[in-house]
């Protein structure tokens, strides 16, 4: 299937110098009109974010900053058992407590939900069974937090404990009682999903290999830990309207699920998404608190707020799955890949979450940036009695990428080929189809490799640093948005609406979720570029389903590409009206009217211009109230037709390469990462400052997973099965400023043929290579292969000891 061209040809990628604006000619996004000679005025330049000053002065209002008159405080009672039947719940003592206004249990909301429509397996509060320590069983609303906490202590729950499954292999091997009732009789209720796919002749590929490398890898689970805990407020009004404010990254999906589960007409439901204080995938599906505040507000007639404690954030989780992986990788003696085979067992926790997608992603997203003639993967996601895993930055593909890039390093070592050269030789190219039939268009991976090779002074460091110091390289790819929404429909993935006032002010109504990535700024830059309006004349009104068109949410790195294209679409409709109206006044052709710098200007050296406000007024006089909508939907011919082919499909792929430099203390096993060089092909950097921020934040998070973080739970012989080992920011150990290495961003621009101005994603891809680059650097430093995460001092020390000679070879 590979090697099939798409007909479009992406130009060669270029490296951006720091602070350099995008001055060069380029094809514009979406192929709507040819603008190859166009100079961009706003796009590509370092600019302030539009919400930076509000956030920097404390004026930005996050969900927990909102206080409504008469607001009650809610709390959720959580299970102390990892797996138990609920025999009885008695809430009468809590209801009788002074100051308590409402109590709900699972029986008040007996409808299952789930972000993936095929696997709805959770209730807002448990009905018959609890499935992890922390599962919600009841919720109260009271006059204040103290009273709500006191009320929780008065709820009596009788449990009948069941055997708990904490290990995914044991869960798969068990024959009941299962964590979930099997959807079909005779099936294993401890399995969410198994995917097995093969492409090309894998067995022949291995037979024709000069070298086959095999390895077992373990990726410990990690969690997102946004600094803002989840928070939601419900307000049921007397006219039957329900409003929910929530720190969510998917207001549209939340809107749907609230209406369905609470049995309210969706047209009466409003979801407001205030600025979100970090998410990273941890707020990308409905959570119990959102249903509880809504139901409690319906019951009490008053607004109800629930704010998770930090401990609850750790238990709500939905973070990175622990993966047990076995890889076989074949190569010829000159380092060309011949076949890849993987077998993966994923520890999913108590609920499906996005797990069906995660299971596919664990295999589907590995097939670039290297050419694989044959590939097979077998992945199984098990349920266990722990908090549910879900999508964390680099959903489902960070774990396999770690294993695979270490495999590549082993091949390079065995064949005595420089690991950067090995990756270069296997480069898949641009405008191709991968072995699993994903369409890849622009691809700047070679430029990424070259950039990190040069910036890190690789040729003088690799295998040349003294014992204890080393460098390592890794590469990766990631989707720029998933090609299909989580529920099947043919409507646009992103919509936006613009409205122009007679004052010259342009309002952008955006349904996208600002979670810190800068989406509200991104649409502002685009409108400024297209209409020539000054940034300070543009307002963004966002995150409110009552007045914004649907955008599906801030997940899968989709927003810049999809909403950006929708925004260009809307802006160009307005631009066309303005050009036509002004052209009529000037007696020229519409295309002779340019909008830039707050002016409408006649092309050529005519000296004719008018303020943009006047131009807008002419357009309003001619066409009526000035506004436009824009939308974007994905192309449909970008994947194969086999079952599962749509999962992993994306309109564009980003590419990344990292070099990490480490120092390892062989006496203690302590690893210090000195620096990570990050080269990332984001297509085009719409604002290089924001792109660098995403690259550095990603590499930081990858570093954290490599060396420090693990979301682990106590076993039965540690006293309390299923209890989180360290549910606090101190004990879970996210990196402080003193832990974090120096990070250097190198932006690569391949100018994607379909991206807005050529842009692709930057928020998730640059996380992937950090982990294997550090693993490979540890090998260069002390000669040991780290196959289990995190690379903590005891693990590294033991590996060095096991090597016997201290790894000196």
């Amino acid at each position: 299937m590979s090697g099939r061209g798409t007909g479009t040809v992406a130009p060669p990628a270029r490296v951006r110098k720091p602070g350099q604006g995008a001055q060069t000619a380029s094809p514009n996004g979406s192929g709507r009109e040819s603008e190859t000679s166009r100079v961009l005025a706003t796009i590509g330049r370092p600019m302030r974010k539009i919400d930076g000053r509000a956030k920097g002065t404390g004026r930005a209002r996050y969900t927990d900053d909102i206080r409504l008159p008469g607001m009650l405080h809610g709390k959720i009672l959580r299970s102390p058992h990892p797996h138990a039947r609920i025999v009885a719940i008695d809430t009468s003592r809590a209801e009788a407590l002074e100051g308590v206004h409402g109590v709900v249990t699972g029986r008040d909301m007996p409808t299952t939900y789930g972000i993936i429509p095929w696997t709805p397996d959770e209730y807002p509060l448990c009905v018959d069974k609890v499935r992890y320590v922390g599962d919600g069983v009841a919720a109260v609303a009271a006059v204040d937090e103290d009273t709500a906490n006191a009320a929780l202590a008065l709820i009596d729950v009788e449990y009948e404990e069941l055997p708990a499954y904490l290990d995914p292999h044991e869960a798969i091997a068990a024959d009941g009682p299962f964590i979930h009732e099997p959807r079909k009789k005779g099936r294993n209720g401890n399995i969410t999903k198994t995917v097995e796919l093969a492409f090309g002749d894998v067995d022949r590929g291995f037979e024709g290999s000069d070298l086959v490398v095999e390895g077992d890898y373990f990726f410990e689970g990690t969690t997102h830990t946004p600094i803002e805990p989840h928070c939601a407020i419900g307000l049921a009004e007397p006219d039957g309207k329900l409003t929910v404010w929530s720190a969510t990254q998917v207001p549209h999906y939340l809107h749907r699920e609230l209406a369905r589960v609470l049995e309210i007409d969706p047209a009466r439901v409003r979801v407001v998404q205030p600025p979100v204080g970090g998410a990273f995938g941890g707020k990308s599906e409905p959570f119990d608190l959102e249903f509880c505040v809504a139901k409690l507000s319906v019951i009490t007639g008053r607004p109800v707020k629930i704010l998770y404690t930090r401990e609850e954030v750790f238990y709500s989780h939905r973070g990175r799955h622990p993966f047990h992986m076995r890889y076989r990788t074949g190569a010829t003696r000159d380092g060309m890949l011949t076949a890849v085979d993987s077998r993966i067992v994923m520890d999913g926790g108590a609920y499906a979450s996005f797990g069906l997608v995660t299971t596919y992603y664990s295999g589907q997203l590995l097939t670039a940036p290297y050419r694989m003639p044959a590939y097979r993967f077998h992945s199984t996601r098990a349920y266990t009695n722990k908090p549910a895993c879900g999508p964390k930055r680099g959903h489902g593909s960070v774990q396999p990428r770690f294993a695979f890039e270490v495999q590549l390093d082993r091949i390079a070592e065995a064949l005595d080929i420089d690991p950067i050269e090995l990756r270069r030789r296997n480069f898949i190219g641009s405008d191709i189809r991968t072995v699993n039939d994903l369409r890849v268009t622009s691809n700047g991976f070679l430029e990424c490799l070259e950039a990190v090779e040069r910036a890190s002074d690789w040729e003088h460091k690799f295998r040349r640093l003294p014992y204890g110091r080393g460098v390592g390289v890794a590469g990766s790819t990631y989707i720029t948005g998933t090609n299909y929404p989580v529920y099947p429909n043919d409507m646009p993935q992103s919509g936006i609406q613009l409205q122009v006032d007679r004052s010259g002010r342009v309002a952008i109504f955006s349904g996208a979720s600002e979670i810190g990535q800068g989406v509200d700024s991104m649409v502002t830059y685009i409108v400024a570029e297209e209409l020539g309006a000054p940034l300070e004349h543009i307002r963004v009104l966002a995150g409110d389903t009552d007045f914004t068109p649907v955008d599906l949410g801030a997940y899968s790195s989709r927003v810049t590409f999809m909403l950006g294209n929708a925004c260009i679409d809307a802006a160009r409709r307005i631009k066309a009206m303005v050009q036509e109206a002004v052209a009529e006044t000037w007696g020229t052709k519409p295309r002779e009217v340019l909008l830039a710098g707050g002016l409408a200007v006649m092309a050529g050296d005519t000296g004719t211009s008018m303020p943009l406000r006047e131009a807008f007024n002419l357009a309003e006089a001619k066409f009526g109230t000035l506004g436009a909508t824009g939308s974007y939907n994905t192309p449909r011919d970008v994947h194969g037709s086999y079952r599962g082919a749509t999962i992993g499909a994306s309109p564009a792929y980003s590419f990344t390469a990292h070099v990490a430099e480490v120092e390892v203390d062989p006496e203690t096993g302590f690893v210090t990462v000195e620096k990570i060089w990050i080269a990332h092909d984001c297509g085009r950097a719409l604002n290089p400052v924001l792109v660098e921020g995403q690259m550095e934040g990603s590499a930081y998070m990858g570093f954290a997973e490599a060396l420090m973080e693990e979301q682990i739970f106590k076993s039965a012989d540690q006293g309390r099965a299923g209890l989180h080992n360290a549910p606090s920011l101190l004990d879970y150990r996210i990196p402080t400023s003193l832990d974090t290495p120096a990070l250097e961003s190198l932006i690569i621009e391949s100018i994607d043929p379909e991206g807005p101005y050529g842009a692709k994603e930057a928020g998730e891809g640059p996380l992937h290579p950090s982990i294997p680059a550090i693993a490979n650097a540890i090998h260069d430093a002390v000669g040991v292969r780290m196959n289990s995460l995190p690379f903590s001092p005891p693990r590294v020390w033991r590996a060095i000891q096991a090597a016997g000679d201290g790894g000196r070879g």
């Binding site: 996050y62 997102h224 600094i227 803002e228 805990p229 204080g277 998410a279 930090r310 934040g697």
Partner: protein, 156 residues
């Protein structure tokens, strides 16, 4: 419920609060100053950092009574009518805030640092911010912003 008197951002404030209230709870719930954030409620994350008598303090583990009679400065008190504090402005210019939730605390730690050490090294900046967790940026742009602000303050 007892009455507490505080000097916050130059204003004398009087507020009735439960006796167990922290400085953070008093600022957020008593005085409506929601700029200081609660990320962990136990002194781990630094999002609640405010400046008390010139020192960066974790307001979520400071009983409000300990702030009585002292000068409390929060993120709301950094800018003046003349404009943003140079640290705030440089955070914006350098992309040092992404989600912005840790930002008020980091700004307070940075201002407290620059008030006592006007030209810190990058290492000193790192050390001064070690009590403020940022989950978005990887810290690089925060250091850049503090360095740029120090330069601007030095030029004044």
């Amino acid at each position: 419920m007892e009455v507490v008197r505080l000097r916050v951002n130059g204003d004398e404030r009087v507020c009735g609060v439960p006796t167990h209230y922290t400085l953070l709870e008093t600022l957020r719930y008593g005085l409506g100053l929601t700029g200081s954030k609660q990320g962990c409620d136990k002194g781990d994350c630094g999002a609640c950092t405010v400046i008390v008598d010139g020192r960066a303090v974790l307001s979520c583990i400071t009983p409000v009574w300990e702030a009585e009679g002292r000068e409390v400065r929060t993120v709301e008190g950094l800018a003046t009518a003349a404009g943003l504090h140079p640290v705030q402005d440089e955070f914006d210019l350098n992309g040092a805030a992404q989600c912005g939730f840790c930002t008020p605390g980091i700004l307070c730690s940075s201002v407290a640092l620059l008030d006592r050490n006007p030209s810190p090294t990058r290492g000193e900046i790192r050390a001064a911010l070690a009590g403020n967790l940022c989950r978005c940026t990887g810290y690089e742009k925060i250091y850049d912003a503090v360095e740029a602000a120090a330069e601007r303050l030095g030029d004044r």
